[in-house]
Amino acid sequence: MKFLFRNVKELVELATTENKLISELMIEQEMLVTRRSREDIMKQMDTNLTVMEQAVEKGLKGVHSTSGLTGGDAVLLHNYMKKGNTLSGALLIDAVSKAVATNEVNAAMGTICATPTAGSAGVVPGTLFAVQNQLNPTREQMIRYLFTSGAFGFVVANNASISGAAGGCQAEVGSAAAMAAAAIVEMSGGSPQQCSEAFAISMKNMLGLVCDPVAGLVEVPCVKRNAMGAANALVSADMALAGVTSRIPCDEVIDAMFKIGQTMPSALKETAQGGLAATPTGRALAERIFGADFVKGV
């Protein structure tokens, strides 16, 4: 099968020489690979965007998971932001609150769109709906944001991993943050090369992040890691737009992430056996939720 790009280098080169947006190349590749029409592909992404909007809306009204471990933080953050005295800026806290909203809905078994996974589903929509207020994009530009994210995610998924069980949280929230960073740059009018710099800067700061969910639930620390993933994405995008570049090329950062994931012990890859899951409080929470037998097994 013919693909337009297999790594970030090819993606950026093609976008630069053909003077096309990265989102455009992702759309063209999708048409080529699946033999579907542009209209059909745009329509499906529009549907996914609507699912993301609805999840954020629901989360900002306040949801709680059945375990009781997560919920309500999106509301706290949004109310705090509205008071107008945030230290890190309204846009950043807006993104954080919307990322948290999405993951709180996910933890409560609500409907979300995986980007690239469910556990990391907050970062891409959280940042999108926050920069939306400043950049005033059209609906098509918002849909394109998801294709730009998807193009970078496509490279990571095929050349490394987007699975916490295979590569730790760096593969999930790490990938999501880097994907979002690249998409913010494109929406802000940055070059394809700047998109790739933003991706590399973001991913470099997520390397080594382990997947250690308390009681095996996609709640603690997953929801707050999406918050920080959104913050990381915004700062990385600003750095790239300022002209800062990564000394290590994007594809080599992705390869490093893959190799770190391979050497990460399995206790830290979504097995709930190490890290925060294995702390006294983490174990006590697991016991409260599932009973003593479950924790003994862990």
Binding site: T34, M109, A114, T117, G150, F154, A165, A166, G216, Q273
Partner: protein, 220 residues
């Protein structure tokens, strides 16, 4: 390239909380049901690796049962699948295993009803995407790059040729094909990877051919 579509990355639309442990699990259940051709009345589900350690927290169990009941990743009924299974007379058992598998998110499903049984090994490779690595003891080596048709058939002369010519008539090109059988003259399996999108009517046409037991498409 295991992931070929942008919607493998931005998607699926699903019920939380985990794309690999909930959406992927639902898809493994759903593919198993499709391959079986009907709802089973009993199921034994063996879980390995991260699936075995964290299935309760991720709703892997209710998602697999939801899939066996025919629910897709975004179907809200997944949340109450255990109750719905009772109503549908599906009995099931989950058995966490300690053995190691190639991929950490692996499930072995043994299902059946009064007339037959089926066994399948499914792997959730991330982001809700799955691969089937074994069916009824037949190892499957699906690349995941192409649409694939699985044809369970009797090991009789001409059955392979008839399927191939049926695809040729529809102008569908075979990219890769594997045939395996348990014993001479017994049940056999064709795994056919094709370049084109497969329409439902093509599957129906193949199913009507002699010696064909079951036809399903996956990873399209």
């Amino acid at each position: 390239m295991k992931f070929k579509s942008v919607f493998d990355i931005i998607g699926p639309v699903m019920i939380g909380p985990s794309s690999s442990h909930t959406a992927g699990a639902a898809r493994i259940g759903l593919v198993t049901r499709e391959l079986f051709g009907r709802q089973p009345t009993w199921a034994k589900i063996y879980l390995y690796g991260s699936f075995a350690e964290t299935y309760k927290g991720h709703g892997t169990d209710i998602a697999i049962i939801g899939g066996l009941l025919g629910f897709d990743t975004f179907d809200e009924r997944i949340k109450t699948s255990f109750d719905l299974a009772k109503e549908a007379s599906l009995t099931f058992e989950f058995i966490p295993e300690s053995g190691h598998t190639e991929h950490p998110n692996t499930a072995r499903l043994v299902i059946g009803d009064d007339s037959s049984e089926m066994e399948l090994i499914g792997v959730s490779i991330g982001g809700g995407k799955i691969e089937i690595s074994e069916l009824n003891g037949f190892p499957l080596r699906l690349s995941g790059n192409h649409s694939a048709i699985l044809v369970v058939h009797d090991d009789k002369p001409g059955s392979i040729a008839k399927v191939a010519s049926c695809l040729a008539e529809q102008n569908i090109n075979i990219g890769h094909m594997e045939v395996s059988r348990k014993e001479q003259g017994q049940m056999a399996l064709m795994v056919i990877e094709v370049d084109e999108h497969i329409e439902e009517h093509v599957l129906q046409q193949i199913a009507l051919l002699p010696h064909i037991i079951q036809v399903t498409k996956i990873s399209d």
